[in-house]
């Protein structure tokens, strides 16, 4: 509020406020307020009209009383009257009162809206400013309804003053945030983009905020903003600090605008080369500037400079395409790692975590390992240490795993309790993932249990046992190490569990040594028995009975133990039952039977590490994804983004590659070849969207899931949907995680799955209902059981409705259940393949497709994609080594469809020929849709359908 001029002093108000301040007690205050209210009421009631000044004064008093926490139920009318005054101060107080005290009272709202409309229509910039501020401050839906159409016009009108434009942009932003559906997109959008070129930097700043928010929702419409933003940015960055006068903050030119522009650019993939060059130049300049000596000692200077720098670095990471920049960013961050300022160290570590997952800068990040380890040891702030742990985890690979794991282990001894469990999980994962030598793995995990036994969760020791059992080479070593570890006088219960299990299985491998003879092993384990909890004791009893099998010489000793009262008559039912049954088994059964019953455990089926799942669960599915996965996702993001790749100078498709000896189909049941007439349609464009328009971006995500089972399907400001799914034959199970990203509860949270009629017959889905309320920050899980009845084309739609705050939210996304999920790889030899390939030669059974590659073909990437797609990659099958060949069977409840696939890249022309043959042409076609070539044509016997509007994750 500007200082009130002398003549406008409102002495009465000042006196009233000082009276209130001087009140001795609450009662006195209430009395004074009651008196004042009565006075104002009598004044308002009075027959003679009040002049503007006193109206303003009384409205001001009411406002003050309201702000003290008392109800005000009159005076609205007077405030609205003030709105139509011509004096600035009166209008201002009127607007202030309205913004603070407005409620959705029908008649008044109409009057207020009318007043605002008049002000907006007036040519007076201050009045327009006041009106816009009021709209933004109230920001209700009613306001949006009334003015959402008008404000864009003001914003782009040629004759609007700069300050008004600024207000209008921010006001529109506010309305868009509260009710995006009410803000119409129209021709004004292109003109808003041109505001980035405005002379006035204030307007540019406001417009950038607006455009950034709008662009997140409608990236296509604001695509042109990229080049404008880049040129604006380069002008700012290259300007001398004195050029921008008012917008230079402690020698940094327009830091806020720079940060906002960089944020805007993060909504888009890297721009085309011309612009990209300029952007790279900008980013380089920013990085250069960071190297310059500071122009001022003031903290504001370095804060502003670093803010721009960090935003630039996150843009570099987002683009992930310029190795040079990434490395430079990494070096810059490396300098910050040793900076005095704790916040800088924290930010540097955090940014480095993301840098580490980029393939270009991973190596560069690794050079800072010593510094990071040092930070872990000496840092005083726990949150910074936490980041250091994260970074170590992120930068870990085969080359430095041993060092990092050792460091983390030694840090674990002194680590804060709050992060211990996480470190334990991370150590366990890294040790497993990068174990070259499994003896090292076993050592590490045993160390882990020794150091932080309490924080070692069940999953960790389960995993050790799984690995030891599955690997013959490490079993003897494990038994020996465990035996040695158990000799410590006090060892953790988890160690006893691991020890019991491993000795029970592989105790015989070390029994030859007289120092670890069967009896000594048994006595060692039994000495720990009484200190353990019931589940561990139960496990030890099983170990004993295994000993009976392994070492007949200790049988009597063990039988004595089992027979003792403390076992046979144990109060715990589980222990008692085990003791009785094992005792009986050992006495009754012959050696052969014993040997069969107590045989060594069979190897566990390989599956995703349960520890990883646990770490993910601890942090939410999205934040810690597997590194590889994150990398892949990132590359998919960049490569398959909405931006069309530049058309490469392609020559005509040369008659490609050899079509030698073609194979035959896998054992496929003879199904009648379906009529494929009307089916060749774009399956994605006519998907059933009965409930709500699909959330923007969901198509992108959907396509990404074609070759992937886990990840984030959908994310906006409120909600995050993560998926984890597994498929086996014709059955599948999908875990959907709904994460509430806000701090408020979602009410009436109802996800529903919608299938078209066609789909319903072909795909059966079963879900369990979820809890209708989702707390802020919480996550709920829903399980979907899937069965593929017959082949299908469409994907089911997941529609989610919930209430957030007062507003009703409706989100629809396609669930990535595609036919290829039921694809099981089949291995076959070269001869078989081509024999079957030949058999499937009828036109209905074949689909051929030639398309241009968007990107240089990378053998490894392509291989990964074929495997991700679900088929087996058959190596050394095709005589031409450049070709890729795959085979697999699609399982449905009714049939099994064998599919063969060949990909013949033509490297010179960057053209690929993809052929598929299957027992069903239909199936083949749908597979195609799943893989979705974007710029290809599908060649089938019936018709040629252009598939240009298919979106896909990547062009295999």
């Amino acid at each position: 509020m500007p200082a009130v001029s002398k003549g406008d002093g409102m002495r009465g108000l000042a006196v009233f406020i000082s009276d209130i301040r001087n009140c001795k007690s609450k009662e006195a205050e209430i009395k004074r307020i009651n008196k004042e209210l009565a006075n104002i009421r009598s004044k308002f009631k009075g027959d003679k009209a009040l002049d503007g000044y006193s109206k303003k004064k009384y409205v001001c008093k009411l406002l003050f009383i309201f702000l003290l926490g008392h109800d005000i139920d009159f005076g609205h009318m007077e405030a609205v009257n003030l709105l139509s005054s011509n004096r600035y101060t009166e209008k201002q107080i009127g607007y202030l009162f309205i913004s603070v005290l407005v409620n959705s009272n029908s008649e008044l709202i109409r009057l207020i809206n009318n007043a605002i409309k008049n002000d907006l229509a007036s040519r007076n910039p201050t009045f327009m400013g006041l009106a816009l501020h009021c709209i933004a401050n109230v920001g209700s839906r009613e306001m949006a309804e009334a003015f959402a159409g008008e404000i864009p016009k003001i914003l782009v009108a040629g004759d609007t003053m700069d300050s008004v434009k600024q207000s209008a942009a921010l006001c529109l932003l506010r309305l868009y945030r509260t009710s995006p559906d009410l803000v119409p997109m129209g021709d004004w959008t292109s003109r808003v983009v041109h505001l980035l070129n405005d002379q006035h930097l204030g307007v540019v700043t406001a417009a950038t905020s607006l455009i950034t928010t709008l662009a997140q929702k409608n990236p296509e419409e604001f695509k042109t903003s990229v080049s404008l933003a880049v040129s604006r940015l380069s002008r700012i960055v290259t300007s001398a600090s004195t050029d921008l006068q008012d917008y230079t903050y402690y020698f940094v030119p327009a830091p806020w605008l720079s940060v906002k522009l960089l944020r805007l650019l993060q909504c888009y993939p890297p721009p085309d080369p011309a612009v990209r060059g300029r952007l790279t130049e900008c980013l380089e300049t920013i990085l250069n500037k960071a190297q310059e000596p500071p122009k001022s000692k003031k903290v504001q200077h370095s804060n502003a400079k670093n803010a721009v720098l960090f935003e630039a670095i996150s843009l570099i990471i987002h683009h992930d395409s310029e190795p040079n920049l990434l490395v430079r960013a990494c070096n810059q961050l490396g300098q910050f790692l040793q900076h005095r300022e704790t916040n800088l160290r924290y930010l540097a570590l955090e940014s480095m975590c993301t840098l580490a997952s980029s393939e270009f800068s991973h190596e560069a990040v690794k050079t800072h390992i010593e510094t990071v380890i040092n930070a872990l040891k000496t840092e005083r702030d726990v949150s910074v240490r936490q980041r250091a742990v994260d970074l170590l985890y992120a930068m870990c690979d085969r080359s430095n795993a041993q060092q990092i794991v050792a460091e983390m282990l030694s840090y674990l001894e002194t680590a804060d309790y709050s992060i211990r469990e996480e470190i334990v999980l991370k150590v366990a994962i890294l040790a497993e993932k990068y174990a070259v030598d499994y003896t090292w793995y076993v050592d590490t995990i045993l160390n882990l249990i020794r150091i932080a036994g309490d924080y070692v969760s069940e999953e960790v020791w389960y995993r050790v046992i799984q690995i030891v059992i599955n690997r013959d080479d490490v079993q003897g070593y494990a038994a020996k190490t465990v035996f040695e570890a158990l000799q410590a006088p006090a060892c953790h219960e988890n160690l006893v569990k691991v020890g019991g299990y491993i000795l029970g299985e592989f105790g015989n491998l070390i029994a030859g040594d007289p120092r670890s003879s069967p009896l000594i092993q048994f006595n060692l384990l039994h000495s720990k028995f009484h200190l353990c909890s019931v589940p561990t004791r139960a496990l030890l009893l099983s170990t004993y009975i295994k000993f009976v099998n392994l070492f007949p010489e200790v049988k009597t000793t063990i039988q004595d133990v089992l027979r003792s009262d403390s076992q046979l008559k144990n109060a715990d039912v589980e222990l008692q039952q085990r003791a009785v049954e094992y005792l009986r088994l050992s006495t009754v059964a012959s050696t052969d039977i014993l040997a069969t019953v107590l045989e060594e455990m069979p190897p566990f089926p390989e599956r995703e590490s349960s520890i990883l799942a646990k770490l993910k669960k601890k942090k939410g599915p999205s934040t810690v994804t597997d590194l590889e996965e994150a990398k892949r996702e990132r590359s998919a993001d960049v490569n398959g983004g909405p931006e069309p790749a530049p058309a490469s100078a392609a020559s005509t498709p040369s008659p490609s590659a050899d079509l030698l000896g073609l194979g035959a189909a896998p054992p496929a049941p003879a199904g009648p070849p379906p009529s494929s007439g009307g089916l060749l349609v774009d399956v994605f464009s006519d998907s059933p969207s009965a409930v709500a328009p699909l959330a923007p971006g969901s198509e992108d995500n959907f396509a990404r899931f074609v070759c992937k089972n886990n990840g984030v399907l959908f994310e906006n400001q409120l909600l995050q949907i993560g998926l984890k799914s597994e498929f086996r034959q014709n059955l599948g199970r999908m875990f959907i995680f709904y994460g509430n990203k806000t701090s408020t509860q979602f009410l009436n949270f109802t996800p529903t799955l919608i299938c078209s009629d066609d789909l319903q017959t072909n795909l059966s889905l079963q879900t369990k209902p979820v809890d209708p309320t989702v707390d802020g920050g919480a996550q709920v899980q829903q399980v979907v059981n899937i069965e593929c009845v017959s082949d299908f084309t469409e994907a089911p739609v997941l529609n989610i409705q919930f209430r957030y705050g007062g507003t009703f939210q409706n989100v629809s996304v396609k669930l990535p259940i595609t036919l290829n999920k039921f694809f099981q790889p089949t291995e076959m030899a070269s001869q078989d393949f081509f024999q079957r390939w030949k058999q499937l030669s009828s036109p209905q059974q074949e689909v051929q497709n030639i398309f241009k590659a968007k990107h240089p073909m990378d053998t490894e990437v392509t291989k990964a994609k074929i495997i991700g797609f679900g088929s087996a990659l058959l190596e050394d099958v095709d005589p031409n080594p450049a070709n890729f060949v795959g085979a697999g069977i699609i399982h449905t409840r009714t049939t099994q469809i064998g599919c063969l696939l060949r990909l013949e890249p033509n490297l010179q022309a960057q053209v690929r020929l993809l052929e598929e043959r299957a027992s069903y042409a239909r199936a083949v076609f749908w597979l195609w849709c799943g893989m979705g070539p974007k710029w290809g044509r599908l060649r089938s016997s019936e018709r040629c359908v252009p598939l240009c509007n298919l979106r896909c994750p990547a062009d295999t």
Binding site: K24, S25, K26, K31, R32, N34, K35, L37, A38, N39, R41, S42, F44, K45, G69, D73, F74, H76, N105, L108
Partner: protein
């Protein structure tokens, strides 16, 4: 057991803080376990804990956003019992499960003691007498257990005239000790008056809630008998009143007396006595006999709900004329003997919250619209029995956006009348002092009845 006692001023600043037990304010048992092992820390810790408890009460009660109405507040498993005297808050704090009635009894007693020592309880007085208050607190609470809080007894050894021990002989000291620890701790021996005199006050407050049609919705009288005695020696007193049970018992003994005694007897719902009254005798014979303390004390408290004489009747008439006007007419009628005079009569008529102006006409007394209290206050100095008076007011209203209807709070009234609305009568107070040579007849006795309004409300 009371863990501590704090006195705050209206701003929530602590004037007096006395902690009897270390448990208050301790947040976790773990803390105490950790810190009990280390000596110097413990001191610091308990200091900090005390702060916690003190601050908790200030933040949650004194400075609470909403007015705290309950006298007992539980904050972090600690109970705070408070009473408020003008602007001063007295809060007793405990962590244990105590008898709340005991704590409040103690707090009231504490107020009485302080009032007896330095008059009105005000911030000024408390600041001026804080050494004395700590002395008193040391004496009347021991490790949180209330001790002798009889003013008379306390005054023998806690004085306000500086150090007295020089003047006090050994004998005097031992006399005090034997009195305080003896059977009759409330009276010392060897009191002598030239004029044996006693004053009896029957103080009652009458509470009423009446419907607009004049139907009594609830009514009760709570009263107390206060005695001020200036008697020599160790006199044995016997107090008699028109208690229904006693009268009927006597009636059985002498049959004809019942018919003769036209005076009413009253039914007492419940009563409590000063510690000097022999309860065993009251239980068996329902007679009230005692050796009174010297000076003023409260002999008994009682409550009645039947056959209450309502000194005033309020007849309200409220008429809403359109949305912007209200007409109020209130008639009060006095309902007692014409020879008696009621005093300090005040009628408070609440006005709606959107009142913008009031015109009042009354025939007697003075009436005024008090905006700060949202009420019309009508004051009459004196009014004889069986009279009638009326006030009429026009209230102008400001139309508001609020659709809420005015809740019409009841009209309340204050007054003082020279009789006991419960109908209680003192029949006798006999004094026997066998050792000294004065008899019952030599004692000059005074009796006074005062009936005051408690919450005396009529709905309109």
């Amino acid at each position: 057991m009371i863990g501590g006692l704090f006195i705050y001023n209206h701003k929530g600043e602590v004037l007096i803080s006395r902690v009897y037990r270390d448990d208050i304010g301790r947040r976790q048992a773990v803390d105490s376990a950790v810190f009990s092992s280390s000596g110097p820390l413990l001191e610091e810790r308990s200091q900090a804990n005390r702060r916690n408890a003190v601050d908790a009460f200030r933040v949650n009660v004194i400075h609470a956003r909403q007015q705290v109405r309950s006298p007992v507040t539980n904050i972090a498993r600690t109970s705070f019992f408070h009473v408020k005297r003008s602007n001063i808050w007295l809060a007793a704090v405990t962590k244990q499960n105590v008898n709340a009635a005991m704590v409040f009894e103690f707090l009231y007693k504490m107020c009485d003691v302080m009032a007896a020592y330095f008059g009105k309880i005000s911030e000024e007085n408390i600041k001026n007498n804080f050494v004395l208050i700590y002395e008193l607190l040391d004496e009347i609470l021991d490790f949180g257990y209330p001790q002798n809080s009889e003013t008379g007894a306390l005054k023998t050894f806690i004085t306000q005239q500086g150090i007295k021990s020089q003047h006090q002989t050994k004998e005097e000291q031992s006399q005090i000790t034997s009195q305080v620890t003896g059977q009759i701790g409330w009276r010392r021996e060897g009191i002598k008056y030239r004029r044996n005199e006693l004053f009896l006050d029957v103080l009652e407050s009458v509470n009423l809630l009446m419907s607009p049609q004049g139907q009594v919705l609830s009514a009760h009288v709570s009263g107390r008998v206060v005695m001020k005695s200036y008697l020599s020696g160790m006199p044995e007193c016997k107090f008699g009143m028109n208690d229904k049970i006693v009268i009927e018992k006597q009636g059985k003994g002498t049959a004809d007396e019942t018919s003769k005694s036209g005076k009413q007897s009253i039914a007492i719902d419940d009563c409590t006595f000063h510690q000097c009254v022999r309860l065993s005798k009251f239980d068996s014979e329902r007679s009230i006999s005692f050796i009174p303390p010297d000076g003023e004390f409260e002999l008994m408290r009682y409550r009645t709900t039947k056959d209450i004489i309502l000194p005033f009747r309020v007849i309200p008439l409220v008429r809403e004329v359109g949305r912007t006007k209200l007409e109020v007419k209130v008639v009060i009628k006095s309902n007692f003997k014409p020879s008696l005079l009621a005093q300090k009569i005040e009628v408070r008529i609440p006005t709606p919250l959107n009142t913008s102006g009031v015109q009042v006409i009354c025939m007697k007394g003075k009436a005024k619209y008090k905006a700060s209290e949202n009420a019309i206050v009508w004051k009459i100095k004196r009014m004889a029995g069986m009279k009638e008076s009326q006030i009429s007011a026009e209230i102008e209203l400001l139309p508001t956006n609020d659709k809420k209807k005015w809740a019409r709070p009841p009209i309340s009234m204050n007054f003082e009348v020279p009789f006991a609305p419960s109908g209680l009568k003192v029949r006798y107070l006999k004094v026997f002092e066998p050792k000294l040579n004065y008899s019952d007849h030599d004692v000059i006795k005074w009796v006074r009845y005062i009936g005051r309004s408690g919450i005396y409300e009529t709905r309109c």
